[in-house]
Symmetry: C2
């Protein structure tokens, strides 16, 4: 290839972003950074520490967890001439478990980790589902108490509250694998039919009532029992009123109710009662959940986030037997719901706001504007200037206002005396300031 010619090859068709991926121009990027900052700030306030792993992993890390069926949902590849298969990460938990497993000896118990990586799924893009998306994960590893479950729910509610949601708009629906299994067996479901029943309950909202009833009937259940299971998977129970479950399903094993009562007590201590209720229709398809499972549902039954306890995964990837519980919230559905709810302001509001916009009204300032802008930036201020040729101060102030600059500095005749005009773009006040005092004056006014 020559240094001075480019490989043109008449190849001037427009390239596009791959299907299901996004270009983030500044306003969209600013909103993404806002969402990430809420995730990050609330996670840190709750004592979680940030981690990250590689964007791709050995393919077998995913098949070990999810079986070979997962491969068709992954973007997988191999380096030219290499012998290992890799896949773009479709979720974080396998990486998390791998990282914990390989450092388990030296890590404290528990660790509380969060991350905000991007993930990839080779599925057909649709509203709310993309091929590349961002997702917040928060996990507590090494604590098997209901307190850890409650902490994960607490940080989730903290995030929802920070975004501006109220308990009327979103609910954390909580279930427990063991409790539901006990209840189902108590209601006459045989061990070998448990899996089918879980799947039925999981799909309950998507199939007609009569089909749901008929399917349960085929498992040999009486009308009364079918009604009980509809009750179980239907109306929610309140946190703190676990006794109602025991009353309703007379004779159900005490241990499950007690386990819920402990979780309920932890949730109430943290003031989470208004945000949560039990809903035993929450199954969550993932096979690896072992205890508490929960899902954040917004009005309109859209799932915003989900998680639960997975006490066997760290062992599965080669670490010691280690209890773990976590939550994941993606950016795509979240953003749609924030928009629907009016919880996102005008996109431009998220763009960083300039501290100062420097305007030269002089025909030739001898490089003074560039020097001043450079000095302001070097002192840590966000300083801009116009790239237009105009010297019309009114127009340039208009540009400063459009990018929401806090102050304008105008270089005019006063520059001969070593002074500039400083205009507060909120109050409109304007005064003269010596150039050598400008940085300190601005920093004081901005509280920087």
């Amino acid at each position: 290839m020559s240094l001075h010619s480019l490989p043109m090859a008449g190849n001037t068709h427009k390239f596009q972003a791959p299907k299901g991926t996004r270009d983030f121009y500044p306003p969209a990027m600013a909103v993404r950074r806002y969402i990430e900052s809420v995730w990050r700030e609330v996670s840190i306030n709750h004592g979680f520490e940030e981690i990250d792993g590689p964007t791709f992993e050995h393919l077998e890390l995913y098949t070990a967890k999810s079986g070979p069926g997962i491969v068709s949902e992954l973007f997988s590849f191999r380096r030219e001439g290499g012998d290992a298969d890799y896949a773009l990460r479709p979720e974080f938990t396998p990486t998390l478990a791998r990282m914990y497993a390989s450092a388990a000896q030296t890590l404290p118990k528990p660790v509380k980790w969060f991350c905000i990586p991007n993930f990839f799924r080779a599925e057909r893009p649709q509203r709310g589902r993309l091929r590349e998306f961002f997702q917040w994960n928060a996990d507590i590893i090494g604590d098997d108490s209901p307190s850890a479950d409650a902490e994960v729910i607490a940080v989730t509610v903290g995030v929802l509250e920070k975004f501006g949601f109220t308990p009327d708009q979103v609910k954390v629906k909580i279930s427990h694998r063991d409790v539901v299994r006990d209840l189902l067996m108590h209601l006459g479901i045989k061990e070998q039919d448990l899996q089918t029943t879980f799947e039925l309950i999981d799909r309950r909202d998507k199939i007609p009532d009569h089909e749901f009833e008929a399917s349960l009937g085929q498992l040999g259940l009486s009308i009364d029992r079918i009604y009980d299971i509809k009750r179980l998977s239907g109306a929610p129970f309140e946190i703190g009123e676990e006794y109602q479950i025991a009353e309703y399903f007379e004779g159900v094993p005490k241990s499950g109710i007690e386990s819920l009562e402990r979780l309920g007590s932890e949730l109430r201590d943290r003031g989470l009662r208004p945000w949560c209720h039990y809903n035993f229709s929450i199954v969550r398809g993932l096979a690896y959940y072992t205890g508490t499972v929960f899902e954040v549902i917004a009005e309109g039954e859209r799932s915003v986030a989900g998680g639960g306890r997975y006490d066997k995964l760290v062992e599965l990837v080669g670490g010691p037997l280690t209890p773990a519980v976590g939550i994941a919230m993606g950016d795509v559905v979240l953003r749609l719901i924030l928009e629907d709810r009016g919880l996102l302001g005008e996109t431009e509001e998220y763009l960083p706001r300039p501290d100062v916009f420097v305007i030269s009204a002089l025909d030739d300032d001898g490089g003074q504007m560039r020097k001043l802008v450079a000095d302001l930036r070097r002192s840590g201020l966000h300083a801009r200037h116009s790239y237009r040729a105009t010297k019309n101060v009114g127009k340039l102030l208009g540009e400063a206002g459009k990018v929401r600059a806090r102050f304008a500095v105008i270089l005019g005749k006063e520059l001969e005396d070593g002074a500039v005009a400083l205009k507060d773009l909120e109050s409109g006040d304007q005064r003269e300031v010596k150039v050598e005092l400008l940085v300190q004056t601005l920093k004081d006014a901005l509280g920087k």
Copy 2:
């Protein structure tokens, strides 16, 4: 797959991160976030706006820019059953050009964009070179003036300065494709030998002196001319002393020197003279550079960053003819040099510092500690507590100190009167505070 058993398959060998990638545990992640925050803050202060693109692109975007030879350096793949070839991004410029090209009609001129994405190269990992790394990019698109070149150099120096580098430690070495070509032709290099000569100059530091001379001799140059080219590609020229180049290479075309003079003047206006000099041995292999090129070199001749003007790329990917100039700085070499220079503190210093660590000295606080911690977090404070069973206040204060908490709150007998002890962990001062005043007292003390 059953809900209650996991796909064990005896598969309990330890999984590892793919070769050339990194696991970021909390301390390493905190340092990464520090590096990113410097890149981001300085970019914003200089008026750049953040963007991002997809992690993978159509493979042909990269072959269009770099030719088919690039493929072996990429991680490329195809979705199962899909018909498009993709590649993990090895650099940002093709995405940037694509994004600009597809929105060129609606974008202002110039746009100043920065990004901090991860990139992937399928090469053999070695010190300073990984298969996945992070890289800051800053570009000005739509401005062909030397002022834009100077602004890109200014934001680069701003970043270096913010990291704590001094001009003794790093230098921006600047060259210009056209000027060097003019000089070489003036010195007797024939048009058809320009490419070879550029390549020789690029490799000058890596080959013995006599080999360099012999290769130039083979191009038919006299001893004097070989000496001139050694001078040209050797000692630097100072910014603002462009006339020396003209004096040294008598008869060289004026236009090139004038072009450097304009750039030099822009750099001096911005106070960048101590950080920069001309060094015509900087070629930068990438074929697409069209004017100014520059490289940030740390002592020991390690390249920390590099960039230049690429006025034809936007057109190449289907947009209008658009001038552009940019810089890229990776995280891997940067971090090594920051460490070598002692410019990184103890890793733990980068971890977020808790505002308050809550300690319960009571045998049974009836959930009061959890409630208090939850309230503190809800009010936006970073609050932690111990996960250990001990009630030994001394030990727990030790834990609070270890995570560098700013304050400790101790729940003791005073809780009966609705009060707790608040201890300033920097001064050691301790006082009693009513529980209902705790949040405000802490916020005032922390200036939040």
